[in-house]
Amino acid sequence: MNHSYFESNEENIFVTLFVGILDLSSGVLDFCNAGHNPPIHIDKGVPIILDTLVNIPLGVFDDYTYASSSCIIETGDMLLLYTDGVTEARDIGRNFYGEVKLIRELSQLIYTTPRDVVDTLVDSVAEFEAGGISHDDKTLMAIKRNLLSLTCTLRNEMESLTEAIETIKSLQQHWNMASIEVMNLRLATEEALVNIISYAYLPGESGVIELIIKREDENVVIEISDQGIAFDPTLWEAVDLSVSIEERKTGGMGIHLLKSLMDEVTYTRRDKYNCLTLKKKITWK
């Protein structure tokens, strides 16, 4: 990149650049910083200036060897890239906006979307500059590594439900979901788990239930598997809602709710495993 830019750089204008490649599955970010403002890594909600090897800007020397560095962006973490127009914005008293203020603003922005981060900072800088003169262009770019799936291994005990519930509730923050959508996923999963805990194993028999929650396009897909006796809840007779209260059975409501709340409920028996898949289309914010 430096070479091709150098060739055409007749006016001796240097360019600062930050280039990175983020591996979405491992979170490894390999990057090279050519004289640019170091990005800010929001690490588990805490903004820190990314430790970079600083190279010279592009277009200075043709034969310069650029050194790269790497870091890990964990799921839920964010990376904020910006140009110096942001930190060098001045208020009416000619004070700089600065990295300190930038970090302070970011530390109040835990669990928000990249869009929120950029919008909030744009407003914050504009407010800071009010009355002063804006000199440089300002560019902000926020990247968040989303969690693609969550798993938990549960024992066939009612106490395990709490762990499953906490996992599903965390989706509201991880995936920025509406609380009603989270509630519906929680209820459907809970009903499926309660059935497994209550009936899949013999009394006193201990077993394991695997819970996997993932995003697939517009959908949230929840896979629940156990090694208990074969049971296909999708074949369960629908609850007759028309009968009088005296005839209404108290059982079967869980499965009825599960089917009503989800778009798709499929069951397969694989080897010695019961595999139940719940699918729900989500209106993502």
């Binding site: 009612m158 106490e159 809602l241 209404r248 709710l257």
Partner: protein, 100 residues
């Protein structure tokens, strides 16, 4: 989850708040018991603060409705949130229960 029972002249009000699922439904039944046992007049379940229920709770409500009818006692659900009302509708309970 909390249940506050208030005894008035002609009615007993049970204010239910929080989340109730299979892990705490037994505790919920125990907390609700004083509102049911040896009380007369109508029983009002104030659900304004009840934020989550699973089918285990729907089952408790259905049994309570059956019990109340057998005892000729009125059972009224008040201030049910739209989210929980949806669950009542899914299970047909909106036509069985008295909702206010």
């Amino acid at each position: 989850m909390e249940v506050t029972v208030i005894n008035e002249q002609n009615q007993t009000i049970a204010k239910i708040s929080g989340e109730i699922d299979s892990t705490n439904v037994t505790e919920f039944e125990a907390l609700l018991a004083p509102a049911i046992i040896s009380q007369t007049g109508s029983l009002v379940l104030d659900c304004a603060e009840m934020s989550y229920i699973s089918s285990a709770v729907l089952r408790v409500f259905l049994l309570l409705e059956k019990q109340s009818r057998a005892a000729n006692r009125e059972l009224i659900f008040k201030h049910v949130t739209p989210e929980i009302l949806t669950l009542f509708k899914m299970t047909g309970f909106d036509s069985i229960f008295t909702l206010e």
